[in-house]
Symmetry: C2
Subunit: 388 residues, 2 copies
């Protein structure tokens, strides 16, 4: 097992009818900003419900945080937070609203140009750059990114997606009520299953580090997603299936399975460019890139791919290469069983666009990806060709 | 899945050579009390090493916290904390030292008779009873209880063992360096494996709640303990095996596997009486009670016992009852493979002592144990008879 640090102070309130905890967990007399997205939280009546639990606190609203939240949108909110002396933010939404809220929380006390905060990548923002943030909680509406229980965000600016990592932006609390997610469009649920699945394999299918419990947990999340994926897409009001999706997605990126193991975020990095360039949903980009990446990187990932084949897909028969082939095939079929296409060409992207993607990866410094930092632009190109 | 709350703010520093984090994580200029146990941490030089990382901070020491820490011992330390204005406590030890330190932390700011704090059992101590504690960190020397990453303690007083639960007594940080545990006596390591194992099954072998990820994690911890148990007892300096034991023991009782599932702490409750009456090690009492409890409670636990047989022990053949029989047999054999006896008679306790145990359970209100609160004294008696 590799040495590791683990820290995660977010309070989770999971289950049916949990909104009542808002009153106890938002400071009394706080001036509260509610952030949300495109309006479905408003239309469904969720925002109004949340407001009743805030009682007599002074409430402000900021809607319109878009999928892949944009710096240009968020920066407007920072003005509101400052001018209205907001003490607490309540994010009502999925990963994009929560990520956007994290950035607002972080940037509100930052004195310089808040675009500075986008430059640290996966390095945590140093303690002396930001010492104080606006505390916030979340009401999760979309199980997918895990943002509700971690300290990372991804912010879009111009043609890039920028990770922002800072220990100060763990949510104070997150309310995870699976019933709130019942009204989601099926495609968003399917994307969410894939996001959680790929988060998990990115921390698992690398090289062996003898982190036995972490491996078993990763395998447990994957098996759960395989078990409930198609059901929760087809039967949105099946509480048990949805509850298992919600908790799987949170557990996939709250630090537990990533503790003490190598990690390979190449799929996310390549996927981010596909979203930025072609507007393909985040989950879909992962479904496109990941099977192709496994095919190209099967030698580097051989030992863990075999473990994945045997423990997750229960493939007992055949030679090692056969087992790996079948595991990759089953991974692709699983994504497709959720109604998500796994070929770049199926999204209208032609092979002549690959150099543009490579150019963007280069521009963003994504030239040495993977758990061994040897996934060069040449290899990214092979992955994209394979993904056509 | 049952509704649940999850919260765990303890920072973990895991791996080789982590003591250097002490300097950054103990407040500068703090007046620090180091708590420890019977002296092995002193003899091994660990206390001196810890002191070097505390630099110029004013240091006090309190040794002699015994296994199953006693109120009578701990209360002396509370005087020191108050008279010397201690700002931070550093517990260097196993579960007993950490549990004792939690009590010291909690009681130091309590104005009344601190025995009051023993009366809440598994109910969290109400917020208005204690509002402030002395913050503390831990350097773990014995993987077993999970106390290094939770907010519970068990304190002995007169002839009872009293659980103390309070959100304020999560350690600020815990340093988990597997190499520090290399010098432990084998029996303590074996007891630790059993403690972690039984913590896990107490949150897993109950009745099904469709908490798929939690079940898989529990199964993952059990499989890991089975895989490395005998090795880490026989080869104390095998880093990989020991690292997996240390993290398994922490994960077994940090709230993750217990989130959203029924729990059955009957084995611990009955075991506590055996320790208090006959001085049997905590881990040994669990090895005595648990297989007997499974035999007596096989009907109530049938569905989960089958799942346990199939997923943890990979018992694929045979009828349901055969599978359950074999799983219980393998559980007992696993404990015995670690060098721990599983029969009460093997510890010199004769059947005529059972009524005394039952009397104590009654005196401590342990009359409706288990996940369904229907484990009465009659059933405890059957379990103890079965455990002879």
């Amino acid at each position: 097992m590799l040495n590791f640090n683990f820290y995660n102070p977010t309070r989770i309130f999971f289950g049916k009818d949990r909104l009542e905890v808002i009153d106890k967990n938002v400071p009394a007399n706080a001036r509260v900003l509610i952030t949300f997205g495109g309006g479905s939280a408003k239309k469904s009546g969720l925002i109004e419900k949340v407001k009743t639990f805030l009682g007599k606190r002074k409430i402000y609203e900021f809607g319109g945080i878009e999928p892949n939240p944009r710096y240009e949108t968020l920066v407007k909110t920072i003005e509101i937070v400052r001018s209205e002396n907001i003490d607490f933010i309540l994010a009502v939404g999925g990963g994009s609203v929560i990520d956007g809220t994290k950035f607002i929380s972080l940037a509100s006390f930052y004195k310089g140009d808040s675009r500075d905060l986008l430059k640290y990548g996966f390095r945590p923002i140093p303690f002396d750059v930001v010492r104080k943030v606006v505390p916030f909680g979340t009401v999760l509406t979309l199980p997918a990114t895990g943002s509700e229980m971690n300290s990372g965000a991804v912010i879009s600016y111009e043609h890039g997606k920028f990770p922002v990592m800072c220990e100060l932006i763990f949510p104070e609390f997150s309310i995870l009520d699976p019933t709130i997610t019942f009204t989601l469009p099926r495609i968003q649920v399917a994307n969410g299953v894939i996001d959680a699945f790929v988060h998990t394999v990115e921390q698992y299918i690398t090289f062996p580090a003898d982190a036995k419990v972490q491996d078993r947990i990763a395998e447990g999340i994957l098996q759960t997603l395989i078990e409930i994926g198609a059901t929760t897409v087809a039967e949105p009001e099946n509480y048990d299936a949805r509850a298992n999706l919600v908790w799987s997605a949170t557990m996939a990126l709250n630090g537990i399975i990533g503790a003490g193991v190598p990690q390979d975020w190449a799929t996310h990095m390549i996927g981010h460019e596909l979203t930025a360039l072609f507007g393909i949903d985040h989950g879909q980009t992962l479904a496109i890139v990941y099977p192709a990446l496994l095919e190209v990187r099967r030698t580097q990932k051989r030992a863990k791919l075999l473990q994945y084949a045997e423990r997750v897909w229960h493939i007992g028969k055949g030679g090692e290469d056969e087992k790996i082939d079948l595991a990759i095939k089953k991974t692709r079929e699983f994504f497709e069983s959720l109604g998500i296409k796994t070929r770049l060409s199926e999204y209208g992207v032609t092979a002549d666009k690959i150099p543009v993607v490579i150019e963007q990866l280069k521009a963003h410094g994504m030239t040495a990806l993977s758990e061994t930092q040897d996934l060069t632009l040449d290899i990214s190109q092979k992955i994209l060709e394979r993904a056509m």
